[in-house]
Every structure is written in structure tokens, then in C-alpha cells.
Symmetry: C2
Subunit: 495 residues, 2 copies
């Protein structure tokens, strides 16, 4: 009893401590400004009301806290992803949604097992040597190393291009090592180029006779976390295992190669022991969960906002994409609480199995193929929880007049108009390809790839005020887009 | 052949890339300023020469690079610590030291094995549940859990005081969980209070019937690394295992307790599976390595600068204390290269087994007990590689006039006079207790406990310019202190 009282007291203190403290000055967010809510003043009283609710109630932040604390990681096809669908069903109902739908589909299940790596021959081979541990993780979809692992010399490549330009053959029995840093930018433009080694490294190495691949993680941090992420194999090419090393471990190997090179005549090299015990689990269930606020005058027309419910297995999927889940569910809750009735239907959708190839988006496009024309605009929040800085119009089919009008209404929340063409977000791409109009609400992703796909993707990294700004932007957006006179469906006014 | 050429080319690029790039803007160092070397202008041409060499040559940085790359981690009593002594012997000779000494002693060897933890019952028990992984590490010296680990409910304590104030008994079969954050300060003042749970948590929990302890790591970061460090047992109290959780994992448990409390009547709790497979290795060799620049006129008088050669096993011991090794060896090299002959002998000493209880310092005090009076002043660099901001006079026995004169000469390097009493650094404490005069050259430790005792303590975290400032300060210090007319041996001028 005494203990229970104690626990009660300290738990209450913990709650107060958590709520009472200033927004976390995460070391991962040096570029984030403190959000100045007092500058978010709209001339439109209805929009202001939505923004005020978003900042007062913290719905988004609390939803993300619930998902990441109660479920944790949510790997595509896993039991935890299934539990997250149940969580979503309950949470939608708790928020006041009436009709919640789950659309199941199936995916190829995959899981990591024991994984470890060591440098067994470094520059200095003197004396009785203890191997240097490397922080490694298998890339999603990778085959396993043979049981007990493999031990082989590394073949060094400065980047993926260097490997692609290397002669076919000559790497028999080697582990290809691909280093090279990713550029850190607000819009994540460095991800695509850096990601080639993750996607295609195993294939290009196998074509040259290698038995495995290690890459410097696709990420922008200097912490000892490897970044996972889906890899790919090319049909007809031998499948070899591929893992990622943390940035400091890659730095260490780069230094050893510099040393080895300085003594090249001695034949010194860097030899590594690598064990990646992955397994394929066969077909497993995954699914999309969605709920609607039914439109008052045009219920058949849909404004869709989404996020993805699955995450990688290493962290608890807070910025990728628990934050998105909180932002879109929270925005819909804000709209409900405002009392404003949307003229069109607002659909909040949480996709499954995004991480392993946008499976949820493709499944929706297939399962709802005859209803895609009903979607007047769609967008997905899947780039963390930092402040939204801009609106970007969609590929080809977004009406410029409507987008401009939308922008004129949203800019008070700190937005700029962003050049280039939106794709709507990963799971919206399959819908956009079928003609669904899209926009992007661009988040500051400068620090996103510090945490992306690592164990460090946890709830403490989210700033509640930045998150509230996201919820406010989405609440404003769905309110505006659900007006029946707004047309995103065609680009009649040129561009 | 072709591959070798390729490797050669990319390795050269890697070297250029490493040397050519701007000082690392580590995300761990938000408070560090860029070092403005142009402001380090002394009116004393000799001091200026030492500083110029320190910044031009990067000896300290290169020495630390060599140690952390070629040896890696250096656990007390391990084979790698022995290799580090060989490395030190070679490095001293390479730098031009003639007479290098190794003083061996023995320590109780300890090593970690397999270690893992999972939350098996969280707040939400619905559905088929996958345990949530916790990032855990055994504290140094901890006994192991029974084979296969233990599974038990956590008993929550807000901090170590709450545990000490709890009734004896009542925790039978529980795992005590102690949370509570460490304060982040420039001088590391938060370490002592936060460290009580690490030092004494196992004893206080065992007195109350608990079977194991988990603490929120003693550290100031929000990354998913547990911080290790030496723990202690009290004679006559049952030894139970103790491990540390990363800050985000502790946050997760704190949130679960907040949830569990909100539904206290349901009897929900947080249950954890914990496995810490540590082992005692018996008596193992450790040792101190030192080398002298012999004094030109008073060779029998010693100015001692030290650091410790051992590290914890999780990282590569870069800031703790590869940096110190680089700083003191580098400073001596700068003095040698300047051509100035010290009047007194300058002794550079690298202690062994500091991490497990200042074993190297105690061994030196014992092995050299009849020569301690020859040391005119001693200090150790063991607080990272960030800029030195101050000089602090020693406990009781430091001559104020000499310290003031030293300060007036050193302040051009950005130093202030720091109140309080120096202890000389961890391994110098045993010497200071025997009357050896000490000073502290205080480093900015604001970010030190972000990395301290974690896997993330790696070479990439060191800023070469900050490190060069350290080397300059130490080179200036040994030059000045080795003048025969400087007396640190008594506090004749009051205080």
C-alpha cells in the first residue's frame, strides 16, 4: 500500500514534470525556431478558431504519444502493426468518428534477427587484438548471411557511382563497402542520391562477385545508429546480404583505409566479420484504416489527408510516421471541435506497410479504383514533426486559382509558396498517378534524416509547438478544401 | 590491380576530404563557439610560439585519431588496454621521447556479455503483443542476472533520494527503476548528484528486497544510448545486478507509469525482462605509461601532466579520454619542437584503469610514494576536448602568487580564474591527498555528458580547433611551470 502511494505520487510528479517543462531543446533540431504562436493571426475568424484550438489542445501530440508509447514499433505485416490498426480503430472512435473502416491486404513479411559486425584486422595488427565492434543493421528485405556469419576483406568504394563504374568481376569473396555522406537540406533533396547505394548496392556488388555489402548509412547524423530502410534486388542477379553502418563506424573504416593506403606496400587491409540473420516470413496481413467526417452538402466528394501507421522496427516510429498520424487525426479532431461542418467529406487515412514499398497506397488505389474520381485533393504527412514552411502545388492536375486562393488563406501560418511539383507524399503517389489532384504541405526536414529509420526515432524528439503548427495548417487546409466551390481537379488557368 | 588503383584513389580522396573539411559542427556541441585563433595573442613571444605550433601542427588531434582508430576501446585490464600501452610506448618514441616507463599493477577484471531488456507488459495489453525493446547496458562491476534473465514488475522511484527514503523491505521480487534527469552545466556539477543512483542504487534496492535495478542513465543527451560507468556494492548486502537505460527508454517507461497510474485501479503495471550476462575475470594486468623531458637545470623537480589510457568498452574512448591523451602528449611535443629547454623535468603520464576506480592514480601514489615530493605541480586532462575556459587553483597547497602569475600569463588563451578548489583530475586525487600541489585547466563540459560512457564516444565528436586550444594551454602551462623560480608547493600568501 505504502509503495502504491509512493508510485502514485511520483507518477503524478512525472506527469507534471513532463507537461510543465519547456519544449524540448532537442540536440537534433538546431535549425528549428521557437514557434511564435502570436504571429499566427488570420483575418478569417473561422481559420483563427481552428488554429487556436490546435495550439490549446495538443491533440496531435497526445495521439502520437499514445501510439508510440502503447504500441511502440510497427513493422509492416507484424503483430504490432495489427495492434496499431486496433489502436487506430479505438482512437478514431474516441475522437468522435462514427464509421471507421479497415481495408486489409497482404505483404511479404520480413524480420531481422541477430546482427553484428566486427573489424577483425585493422591497421595495427600488433599484439593480442580484440575485434572492434561495428554498429550495423540489415536493410529491409536483405537476405541473411550464412549461419555464423562471414569474414572477408572490404573493397572500398567512395560512393555508389564508383561501384557502378567499376569493372564487372574482380570482387570475388569480398565485402563491398560503400561510403559517402548525404547532404543535409530543408527539403530532403539529399535523400534520393544517397539512397541509390541502399536500393541498388547489393545488385551492383553481386554483379561483380562480392559476397555481401556494407554501406555508410543513408542519414545526416553523427551518432552511432545505423539507418535501416528497404533495399532491392534485380531479377536474375544473385541475392547477397546488405547492411548499413552508423556514420561514426563508417568514419572509422574510412580512417583505416587511409592508414592502410599509407602503408599500401605492406598489403594491409580492413577485414570484417559480418552476421545478419534476417528471415522471410511469407505473406502477412497489413491494412489501411480510415474514417470520415461526412460532408454536409457534398458527401460524395472527398478531401483526403493521410499518414502511415507502420514504422521500421528499430525505433518507435515517432517522426516516421507517428507524427503524421497525430497531425492528420489531430487536425480532423480540431475541425470537429470547432463546430464547422465541412461541405465535402474529410477522409483521414492511415496507410499500412508504407516502408516496404508504399503497399498501403497501392492497395488503396486498387481496392478503391472506381472511386478515385471522388477525391478532390489528397496529401500525406510523412516528413517528421517540424514546422510546415510551405505549400507546393501538385503534379500537372492542380488548379492554380484554387491553389493560389488556398495559399492566400494559409500563409499567415508561416507558409511560403514552394516551387516545383508536389507528389502528395509516398502513399498518395499511386493515387496521383491515377489522376487524383494533390498538394504538399512541406515540413522543415533539415534534421529529419538524423533520426530516420534508426532506434533514435522516439517520441522525445518531437517539439509539441512545432507539431501544433502542423495540426493548425492541416485543420485550416481541410476546412478550406472541403468547401464545395474549391476545385483542385484541373489546371484550367495555366501555370 | 585495377581495384587496388581504385582503392588508392578513393582512399586519397578520403584523406583529403577529412583534412579539407571545416571543423565538424557536431550536433552535440551547441554551446561551443568557433575558436578565434587570431585573438590568442601573447605579449610573450615564447608563449606565442608555443601556441602557433599547437594550432599549426594538430599533434593532439592526430595522436587521439591514432589511438582511437588503431586500438579502439580500452577496457581496464583488457588486451586492448595492454595494446594501448604498447601503442603509447611507440608513440612516445615517435614523438622524440627517449626514456619511456611502464609501471604495471593488477586490477579486478570484468566484462559485459549478452545484454538485453524488453517491456513485456505495457499499458495496453490488447491483442498479440510484441515486447518493446529497451536499450540497456550493465554498469561496470555489476553481477549478472541468472542465466536466461529475469522477468519482474518495476517499482518506480523518481530519484535516488526517493529510494533511500522508502521503507526497508516491500520490494521483494521487484526490479527497482530509478528515473530522474541530470542537470547540464559547463563544469559538470550535475554529475555527482545524478551519479548516486549508479554508485549506490544496487545496495539500497537490495536492502529493500529487490532482485535487480534499472536506472535512467547518468547523462544529458536524448539519444538511445545507455551510459555505463562503475557501480559499487556495500559489504554485507546482497549483490544484485544493475543496468542503465537510455534516456528515451526511460522516458517511455515514465510515460507508461503515468498511464498505469491513470488506471491504477486496474492493477496495471510495467513488467520488464532483463538479461545482463556480466562476468568477473579475476586479476588482470593494467599499467601506467610515462615519459619525461628531462629538466635542463632542475631535472629532479617534476611538472606532471596526465590523462588516462583506458576507456569504457562501448565507444572508442575519444572524449574519455583519448582526447586527454592527445592533449598532454601533443603539448609535450609542441614544447620539444619549440626548442625551449624546460628547467624542470616535464613528465607526461598516461594512467591505466581510471574508469574502475582511479586505479592508475592509486598505483602511482604507492609505487612512487618516496618521490612524490619531487612533483612541483600536477594536473590531468579528463573532461573531453572542448575549449579550456579557466584556471582553478588547487586544494589547500597551491601557492597563490605562483597561480596568479600563471594566470596572468595564460589568460590570453581565453581563460578566466575559476573559484573553488581544484583536485587536479581523477588520477591526481591520490597524489594530491599525499600533498602534491595541483591545478585544474577547466574544459567546457557542457556537452561532455551527452557522450560520456556511451557507444557514441567516438573520434568524430572532437573539434580539431578546440583541441588545439587545449594543446596550446597545456604547452604554455608546462613551459611556465617548469621554470625553476615558480613555486606551487605552499600557500604562503593566504587564501
Amino acid at each position: 500500500m505504502k509503495l502504491q502511494t509512493l508510485i502514485f505520487t511520483v507518477a503524478i510528479s512525472a506527469i507534471l514534470g513532463m507537461n510543465g517543462c519547456a519544449p524540448k531543446q532537442g540536440t537534433n533540431t538546431p535549425t528549428q525556431k521557437n514557434i511564435k504562436t502570436e504571429r499566427f493571426k488570420s483575418t478569417d475568424a473561422n481559420l483563427q478558431k481552428l488554429t487556436d484550438i490546435a495550439f490549446e489542445k495538443s491533440y496531435g501530440y497526445e495521439i502520437t504519444r499514445s501510439l508510440t508509447t502503447e504500441i511502440g514499433s510497427r513493422l509492416a505485416g507484424s503483430k504490432n502493426e495489427a495492434r496499431a490498426r486496433d489502436w487506430a480503430m479505438d482512437k478514431f472512435k474516441e475522437l468522435g468518428f462514427k464509421d471507421v473502416q479497415i481495408n486489409l491486404f497482404h505483404v511479404d513479411g520480413w524480420a531481422r534477427g541477430r546482427e553484428q559486425a566486427f573489424i577483425v584486422i585493422p591497421h595495427l595488427e600488433k599484439g593480442d587484438y580484440e575485434p572492434q565492434k561495428l554498429f550495423v543493421t540489415a536493410l529491409g528485405g536483405s537476405v541473411a548471411t550464412p549461419e555464423g556469419g562471414i569474414t572477408a576483406d572490404l573493397a572500398f568504394f567512395e560512393n555508389f557511382e564508383a561501384l557502378k563504374n567499376a569493372a564487372k568481376g574482380g570482387l570475388d569473396g569480398k565485402i563491398v563497402y560503400i561510403t559517402g555522406k548525404m547532404e543535409k537540406t530543408r527539403d530532403g533533396a539529399g535523400y534520393g542520391p544517397a539512397n541509390q547505394k541502399r536500393r541498388n548496392g547489393a545488385t551492383e556488388a553481386a554483379k561483380r562477385g562480392a559476397i555481401a555489402v556494407l554501406i555508410r548509412s543513408v542519414g545526416t547524423d553523427s551518432h552511432r545508429f545505423p539507418h535501416t530502410g528497404q533495399m532491392g534486388y534485380e531479377d536474375g542477379v544473385k541475392k547477397i546480404p546488405i547492411g548499413a553502418l552508423s556514420a561514426p563506424d563508417a568514419d572509422q573504416i574510412d580512417r583505416m583505409f587511409a592508414n592502410a593506403n599509407a602503408e599500401a606496400e605492406s598489403g594491409k587491409t580492413v577485414r570484417v566479420h559480418l552476421e545478419l540473420a534476417t528471415k522471410n516470413l511469407g505473406r502477412l496481413p497489413s491494412g489501411n484504416v480510415y474514417a470520415d467526417i461526412i460532408g454536409s452538402t457534398h458527401p460524395e466528394e472527398i478531401v483526403m489527408i493521410g499518414a502511415h501507421l507502420d514504422s521500421w522496427d528499430l525505433g518507435t516510429g515517432a517522426i516516421d510516421d507517428g507524427a503524421g498520424v497525430g497531425i492528420v487525426m489531430g487536425a480532423a479532431k480540431v475541425l470537429m471541435e470547432s463546430g464547422f461542418k465541412p461541405e465535402r467529406t474529410v477522409r483521414v487515412i492511415l496507410f499500412g506497410s508504407e516502408e516496404i514499398g508504399l503497399k498501403g497506397g497501392f492497395a488503396y488505389a486498387k481496392q478503391h479504383k472506381d472511386e478515385l474520381g471522388a477525391i478532390v485533393v489528397a496529401t500525406e504527412s510523412d516528413f517528421g514533426a517540424a514546422q510546415i514552411y510551405g505549400l507546393q502545388a501538385g503534379k500537372g492536375a492542380t488548379n492554380k486559382a484554387s491553389t493560389d486562393r488556398l495559399y492566400s488563406k494559409l500563409k499567415y501560418l508561416g507558409l511560403e509558396m514552394v516551387a516545383g511539383k508536389a507528389d502528395g507524399g509516398p502513399d498518395i503517389i499511386p493515387l496521383n498517378r491515377k489522376g487524383v489532384p494533390v498538394i504538399d504541405l512541406k515540413q522543415n526536414g533539415y534534421d529529419y534524416f538524423d533520426l530516420h529509420h534508426t532506434p533514435d526515432d522516439t517520441f522525445d524528439k518531437i517539439d509539441p509547438k512545432e507539431m501544433a503548427q502542423n495540426v493548425a495548417v492541416y485543420a485550416n487546409f481541410i476546412y478550406l478544401a472541403s468547401k464545395a466551390n474549391v476545385d483542385f481537379s484541373d489546371n484550367k488557368n495555366g501555370e
